[in-house]
């Protein structure tokens, strides 16, 4: 599981590669911390290469969203495959995020 964060004009893109299961979630959360500390106006969570996400992974996403809201930042999701989108749908998370 890899998380790559890039910055472009003050907007951050976090690209996930692999599975965010229960075992991997803590590492992903750690990887996102530096980005969140910069209070970015826009965060794009790029799920193009995300193959799996468990509820612990969803909780990491929720945490990013809750954090960004404290400084008025926007969080976008992009590149979800159908299976992942289905998980978002089942859990109602699809209503929490905006998609790009």
């Amino acid at each position: 599981m890899k998380t790559i964060i890039t910055e472009q004009n003050g907007s951050y893109v976090a690209a996930f590669d692999g599975r965010i299961d229960t075992a991997a979630s803590p590492a992903v959360e750690q990887d996102l911390k530096p980005m969140l500390e910069k209070n970015p106006k826009e965060i794009i969570l790029d799920c193009t290469k995300l193959t799996y996400i468990s509820s612990s992974g969803l909780r990491v996403f929720l945490s990013v969203l809750k954090n960004a809201k404290t400084w008025g930042g926007k969080v976008y999701l992009t590149g979800l495959n159908d299976d992942i989108r289905n998980i978002f749908s089942i859990t109602g998370f699809i209503n929490l995020f905006q998609f790009k």
């Binding site: 075992a23 193959t51 809750k66």
Partner: protein
């Protein structure tokens, strides 16, 4: 509910009755008034007729007398005129007149002054009756100059007969008299003398008051000057004139009558006597045209109308009584009708509310059979035959997480209260069993809730069962209900611990009992409406009959729930016959029909309670899914569900920092893939967690609960069992 709504006191029915009574009263009174009017009119005419004929009769009687006098005098007058040349014969003539006419008591022939020069100025032979003899004398004297008297001048002037005003003959006959006088003419036709006849009027009173048209009515006769000539009070006769008598009368009509009478008119009038009583006066002159007398008949109003008034009064009383009776009867009828109507309406309303309550009660019970057509592991049939009066029987069942929760109960008492308690019980059962899988806990929660709100001391005998469908394990708890029948190879009652009903005391324990149900066996539950069904002789259907029906069904291999209940129903109907059903007849039959399938795949892995081992789990799941040929998407969702379930156990089953094992077993047959997750940690039922709300906003979303939600969504079923100190969680997914 408006059971106690009051009826308005003034119903239209009563109003119409009132109108009827008033109409009847008006009609009766009007009839009475008209009848009185006609009758009094008739009576008045009758009185008038009687009075007039009385007047006529009396008048005729008087006239007969007077005419006799007149004729006698007139006949003698002719003779006098023949004898004018012989003055001395005049004495004899007068004496002869008296002798021939009893009624004439005196007679004179009074000549014009010096008609016979030799006889002087006042030649007037006069004879009169003195006792039985007739005396004669000269009438005119120095003291009695007759040429000036009315009896002399009046006929002289008029040229024909004249009756004098009546007078009292003092010093003579001591009687009332009137004098009839006619002129005597010589051959030249010149009046030369007046021939008189003094007539006693003693007979007049007798004639006048010999007979009365009414007992207290009276007649009177007055002269043309108003002198009282005949009246009931003898002392008034010739003592007073009618004017004097009535001078003080307040009723001026009296005076008018007097004038009319004295003027010789006839008529009638109503006058008031001095006592204020009403009297009717009918008056008419005597028809002779010479006397100027007038007669009156006086009758009292009271007497005339006494009879009529008596009759009318009685009639009025009778009518009033009749009316009162009618009012009373109508009132009673109206009230009776209203009461009856009220009672009927009340009955109708209660009846309809009871029917509604009964319908609501039955509407709450599951009634679609078979309830789970998609399942092949359980068949259920239930029936509730309500008694005439709504009762408090209930049964219910539902499947949650591969467990069949069911119950049957009987609320003490009947009627709406019982059905309300029944509804509450059923609702509590659903609520509690939604997150409790242990019968003892379901029963305890139910008992506490019921006991706390039990102000009416209504109890429920209740049997709660939880049948684990994958294993056939039946856990149950009984609160004073009849033991169900287990229809296995051998038909017998399920052993139940005796206990009190639900709702008696908070904190009471209802221990769980346990047994295994073998596939194809049937659990038959019922209420005492079955065992206590009575025939016409009040014999009970009883447990033995029930068991024998169940045994027959078993023998004939008719254990399907519907067949069992039909046989039982037929048996009880046959037994009861014509007797009225006294209680709800409620039955519920559950057949466990799990098919036995060959195991195609059986693998397992044991992990510790460390989330770092999740990738190993993912590896295991993927291998299993590959064997059963799930597609990648399904594989991913199975993977996710198993991970969530296992991580849940890893997090909660064991205390932190305490190592524990978790065994995951995958098993597949031709129909489904089953994962069994077993741990020996603290009792932990993940299915008891409440469902997460996926519609909440980000800020409101709780961190927990997502995992088990995903498991429920992704797998076909989730089932938790605690067996032998182990938590056993079973997840199933149908094969494609």
């Amino acid at each position: 509910m408006n059971i106690f709504k009051k009826i308005q006191p003034q119903t239209p029915r009563w109003k119409s009755s009132l109108a009827l009574i008033i109409t009847a009263a008006v009609l009766i009174e009007a009839t009475s008034a008209i009848q009185y009017w006609f009758a009094s009119n008739g009576i008045q005419k009758e009185v008038q007729h009687r009075a007039e004929s009385e007047l006529k009769v009396k008048s005729l009687e008087i006239q007969n007398v007077l005419t006799a006098v007149e004729v006698a005098v007139n006949n003698k007058a002719w003779w006098i005129e023949q004898q004018l040349a012989q003055p001395d014969t005049m004495w004899g003539i007068t004496r002869k007149l008296l002798a021939d006419n009893e009624i004439i008591v005196g007679s004179a022939i009074a000549f014009e002054p010096y008609y016979y020069p030799e006889k002087g100025r006042q030649y007037s032979p006069y004879s009169y009756k003195q006792g039985k003899t007739i005396e004669s004398k000269q009438l005119g004297t120095e003291q009695y100059e007759y040429h000036e008297k009315e009896w002399y001048t009046a006929p002289l002037q008029s040229g024909h007969g004249h009756w004098s005003e009546p007078y009292y003959d003092e010093g003579g006959g001591e009687m009332m008299m009137s004098t009839y006088s006619i002129p005597i003419h010589d051959q030249t036709g010149k009046a030369v003398a007046i021939f008189t006849a003094d007539v006693s009027l003693d007979w007049l009173s007798g004639v006048i008051n010999a007979h009365h048209i009414y007992p207290s009515s009276y007649n009177l006769v007055i002269s043309r000057k108003g002198q009282m000539m005949a009246c009931p009070v003898e002392s008034l006769v010739m003592r007073q004139t009618i004017q004097e008598l009535t001078a003080k009368a307040e009723d001026t009509t009296v005076l008018h009558v007097n004038r009319q009478m004295m003027a010789g008119k006839s008529g009638q009038a109503s006058v008031k006597d001095p006592k204020g009583k009403k009297n009717y006066v009918f008056y008419a002159p005597l028809d002779d045209g010479q006397t100027g007398w007038s007669m009156a008949v006086v009758c009292s109003d009271h007497e005339i109308y006494y009879g009529l008034r008596q009759v009318t009064f009685s009639l009025m009383l009778l009518m009033l009584a009749g009316l009162a009776l009618m009012v009373f009867i109508i009132y009673r009828i109206a009230r009776g009708a209203r009461k009856l109507q009220d009672v009927n309406a009340e009955k109708e309303r209660i009846g309809s509310e009871l029917r509604i309550a009964s319908n609501i009660q039955r509407g709450m019970l599951p009634k679609i059979f078979p309830p789970y057509p998609e399942r092949n592991d359980v068949e259920i049939f239930g029936s509730l035959e309500p008694a005439k009066e709504v009762g408090g029987d209930l049964y219910d069942y539902f499947i949650r997480d591969e467990k069949l929760f069911f119950c049957i109960g009987d609320v003490s008492g009947k009627g709406v209260p019982a059905s309300l308690v029944m509804a509450v019980t059923r609702s509590l059962f659903r609520t509690v069993a939604a997150h409790e899988a242990m019968p003892e806990r379901i029963m305890a929660s139910l008992n506490d809730a019921m006991a706390e709100m039990n102000e009416t001391n209504m109890f429920v005998t209740l049997f709660v069962g939880v049948l684990d469908l994958p294993t056939g394990r039946l856990r149950y708890s009984n609160a004073g209900h009849d033991a169900p029948i287990i229809m296995a190879s051998d038909v017998k009652l399920l052993p139940v611990e005796a206990n009190i009903p639900v709702g008696v005391m908070t904190g009471w324990k209802f221990p769980t009992q346990e047994t295994m149900i073998v596939p194809q066996n049937t659990i038959f539950l019922y209420t005492d409406g079955l065992t206590e069904a009575e025939d016409t002789n009040h014999n009970l259907f009883g447990e033995d009959r029930m068991l024998s029906v169940a045994r027959n069904a078993q023998k004939e291999n008719k254990q399907e729930p519907q067949a069992v209940i039909r046989q039982m129903t037929d048996a009880v109907h046959g037994f009861v016959g014509e007797a009225e059903q006294s209680d709800d007849l409620t039955m519920l039959a559950i057949q466990y029909t799990k098919p036995q399938l060959d195991v195609r795949l059986l693998r397992s892995i044991t992990l510790t309670n460390n989330v770092e081992e999740v990738p190993q789990l993912a590896q295991f799941v993927e291998e299993v899914c590959e064997v059963v040929e799930f597609d990648p998407a399904t594989t991913m969702s199975i993977n996710l569900a198993i991970e969530e379930a296992v991580v849940n156990v890893m997090n909660y089953a064991y205390p932190k920092n305490k190592k524990g094992n978790i065994c995951i077993e995958a098993q597949a047959n031709d129909v489904r893939l089953k994962f069994t997750i077993t741990d020996s940690g603290t009792p932990f039922d993940p299915t008891a967690k409440e469902e997460v709300d996926t519609t909440l906003k980000a800020e409101e979303r709780p961190i927990g609960g997502l995992g088990i939600h995903l498991v429920r969504q992704l797998m076909d079923s989730i089932n938790y069992e605690r067996i032998d100190g182990k938590n056993i969680l079973t997840l199933r997914k149908k094969l494609n």
